[in-house]
């Protein structure tokens, strides 16, 4: 996982509420190997006609938004399915951080597993940012993960919250398995007492 520290980048506005994971990546692309590249599956139905022609008006096709590394979205971004392909597609497009008033719970967890930083800020702050980004294409935001602060194009600063453990993992680019397995002994001990106590589980098949 690529570590995340501080990012200064162009932000693209996609300020609509409840963008679900089916919209982020339609199910028919989830059978593709990662080696195929997921960049072009991102928001596929928004970006391409049924015949596969580019819809040039879509925000991510309009320079300089096509180089954005930060997506500014509406509330409940990424609700719906568990598909991690939604995050793979965003990351493959180049997004390293997402700013929204709230995220779907599963999607939020999937972002953290892939080094994509989900930043939660108040709705009104994001509405102002989105408006600015529409009016000033190419405006940049700075996301300072160590300081937990976003600097807007107008220079205003906004603190965001993130669980300290998750923050540390993003900063160091560590995934969970290695960390968890340092506690293998704890898991073994837990497991032994759990199965002894709930001895009926799996009818002997566990």
């Amino acid at each position: 996982m690529q570590p995340f520290t501080t990012l200064r980048a162009i932000a693209a506005p996609y300020f609509e509420a409840d963008i679900d994971t089916d919209k982020i990546i339609p199910h028919r692309y989830l059978r593709k190997p990662l080696s195929a590249g997921y960049r072009n599956f991102l928001f596929y139905n928004e970006r391409f006609t049924p015949e596969g022609t580019v819809k040039p008006d879509f925000v991510l096709h309009r320079p300089p938004y096509d180089r954005a590394q930060v997506l500014v979205a509406g509330r409940n971004f990424g609700g719906g399915s568990t598909r991690e392909g939604a995050v793979y597609a965003l990351a493959d497009f180049g997004f390293r951080a997402l700013i929204a008033p709230s995220f779907g719970d599963i999607f939020h967890a999937n972002c953290l597993q892939n080094g994509v930083l989900p930043v939660v800020l108040p709705d009104a702050v994001i509405a102002g940012l989105a408006k600015h980004l529409v009016e000033q294409p190419g405006a940049e935001v700075t996301i300072d993960l160590p300081g937990q602060e976003v600097t807007m194009p107008d220079g205003s600063r906004h603190r965001f919250e993130l669980d300290p453990v998750r923050k540390d993992q993003l900063l160091r680019g560590l995934d969970d398995i290695g960390i968890t397995l340092t506690d293998a002994g704890l898991i073994e001990a837990f497991e032994a007492q759990y199965h002894r106590r709930l001895h009926w589980l799996g009818n002997g098949r566990t």
């Binding site: 609509e16 509420a17 409840d18 679900d20 089916d22 919209k23 339609p26 199910h27 028919r28 989830l30 059978r31 593709k32 990662l34 139905n45 049924p50 509406g74 509330r75 409940n76 609700g79 719906g80 399915s81 568990t82 598909r83 991690e84 995050v87 709230s102 995220f103 779907g104 719970d105 599963i106 967890a109 999937n110 597993q113 892939n114 669980d163 300290p164 453990v165 998750r166 995934d175 969970d176 398995i177 968890t180 397995l181 506690d183 293998a184 704890l186 898991i187 837990f190 497991e191 759990y194 709930l198 001895h199 009926w200 589980l201 799996g202 009818n203 098949r205 566990t206």
Partner: protein, 470 residues
């Protein structure tokens, strides 16, 4: 000695499974069962790349459901026309065989949709933590288990460690009191709840359903309700175990045997929320006032009773829902004020992990019996077990006589991943769980309804009130 603090069912299950904690409110939870479909092949690929083994193969179960065809099943893998879909089914079979995971594959006599089959097997029991590669793992909350979906990276973590890191959710109690009217089902209850909460209303929460309506629901109905809890943004929905739960589990393949039964049942009962326990949030819906529901938009909270009209987006108080509704009406080709019952449909789908159990098919058959469908209408039973049971009761003959197609189990037209899709521009009355833009196929227009309402629509060629058919 001070009395222990009363806890909710969710808190008890959390405490029972927390191996350790870290950070503000995260715990490493021990997973009783992990269930996977063809989707998270990335997880198996990752394990191989990292040289890791599956820690407890007996505690992960694999199901082929998303990519299996619903026709020509006798042809086996050769019946899968699309090479990519076929490869998904083959990869899961291979990964299961390599890792020693039990696999309910395409040809298995108990194959079916993971959430339908897991219940039939008695795999899921009160007090368990159940995870898997699908948001509708929430279905398992019907048993008083904590079931939640995770992405492929976390599936990989669970395969390697039999645990998952999770942030503790806030708790919400949703009370549904009263009595359901004729023709009103668990599907209508959950659509009414989501309409009330909004699709993001449950984010960060785990819901426990209580009230007289919930207690009166069968296990099938409870599964429908908990299944769609995720559509309101909550990670999981749960119902405390009772006599109905215990009776359902008795004698099932993975259920405790006679020697352990009393111990197990005592444990299950101990899992229910204590008197005096508190929830972070409360909501209530009057069950007696719920009508048969229909979605008119592209989110599950865009729903109304069958007697209603398509609302004017400008009349909605929440600005975000207003913007969303405008776009939804444009996509759905509907106009404000239009009567829901005037909406003509092009096809009907009865199936999915939400509504493809035996009780669902019985409800649909009650409406279909002696009548004829006027639009292409497909029934996809949730599992081979459901299919056989329905055939033993003669339901297949009722459906075939009415002009329905009677297919083989899988996720089918709910996700369209096996190629069963709604053509662009066509309007489908569907018993599935997601009416998102393009969910049933690009340009598809979905109206979510109960199985009985779907049958009424199939016979009418438009959205119809099931109560006119009872």
């Amino acid at each position: 000695m001070a009395a222990p603090t009363p806890r909710t069912m969710y808190e008890k299950i959390w405490d029972e499974h927390a191996v350790r904690t870290r950070g503000e409110n995260e715990a490493l939870l021990y997973v009783d069962y992990n269930v996977v479909h063809e989707g998270p092949f990335y997880a198996f690929d990752g394990l191989i790349q990292e040289g890791r083994a599956v820690r407890r193969p007996a505690q992960t179960i694999a199901f082929s459901d998303h990519y299996v065809p619903t026709v020509q099943r006798e042809r086996g893998l050769d019946g899968i026309v699309d090479p990519e879909a076929r490869s998904m089914v083959e990869q899961l079979a291979k990964n299961a065989a390599t890792t020693g995971i039990t696999h309910y594959g395409m040809d298995h006599p108990q194959q079916g949709i993971m959430h339908v089959v897991a219940a039939e097997l008695g795999l899921v029991q009160p007090g368990m933590v159940v995870t898997g590669s699908d948001s509708h793992i929430a279905t398992n909350g019907a048993f008083g288990a904590f079931g939640f979906g995770v992405g492929a990276s976390q599936v990989k973590h669970i395969l390697a460690t039999q645990t998952v890191w999770l942030k503790k959710a806030r708790t919400m109690q949703v009370v549904v009191d009263g009595t359901l009217g004729p023709g009103v089902s668990a599907k209508d209850v959950v659509l009414a709840i989501i309409e009330h909460l909004s699709i993001g209303g449950g984010v960060g929460h785990v819901i426990e359903y209580t009230g007289t309506v919930i207690r009166a629901l069968s296990m099938e109905g409870r599964m429908t309700l908990c299944n769609m809890t995720i559509e309101g943004g909550a990670r999981a929905g749960m119902i405390a175990p009772d006599e109905i739960t215990v009776a359902y589990l008795k004698g099932r393949e993975y259920a405790p045997d006679a020697a352990a039964w009393a111990d197990a049942v005592a444990y299950w009962r101990s899992i229910a929320t204590d008197a005096g326990a508190t929830y972070d949030r409360h909501a209530a819906v009057d069950g007696s006032r719920i009508e048969p529901m229909v979605t008119w938009g592209t989110a599950q909270d865009e729903a109304t009773g069958i007697g209603g009209t398509v609302p004017d987006p400008e009349s909605l108080s929440d600005p975000a829902r207003r913007v969303r509704a405008r776009r939804a009406l444009d996509y759905m080709k509907l106009v404000p004020g239009q009567s829901i019952r005037d909406i003509a449909i092009d096809r009907v789908f009865i199936g999915s992990c939400t509504n493809a159990r035996l009780e669902d098919l019985r409800e649909a058959a009650r409406v279909a019996e002696g009548r004829k469908v006027v639009v292409p209408s497909v029934i996809v039973p949730g599992s081979q077990t459901v299919k056989r049971a329905a055939e033993a009761e003669g339901l297949d003959q009722v459906f075939l006589a009415a002009g329905f197609e009677w297919r083989s189990p899988g996720c089918s037209m709910c996700t369209g991943s096996n190629g069963d899709r709604v053509p662009a521009g066509e309007r489908c009355a569907s018993t599935s769980n997601r009416n998102f833009e393009g969910r049933q196929g690009r340009g598809s227009l979905t109206h979510l309804v109960s199985p009985a309402m779907a049958a009424a629509a199939a016979i009418s060629g438009r959205l119809a009130d099931v109560r006119d058919f009872l």
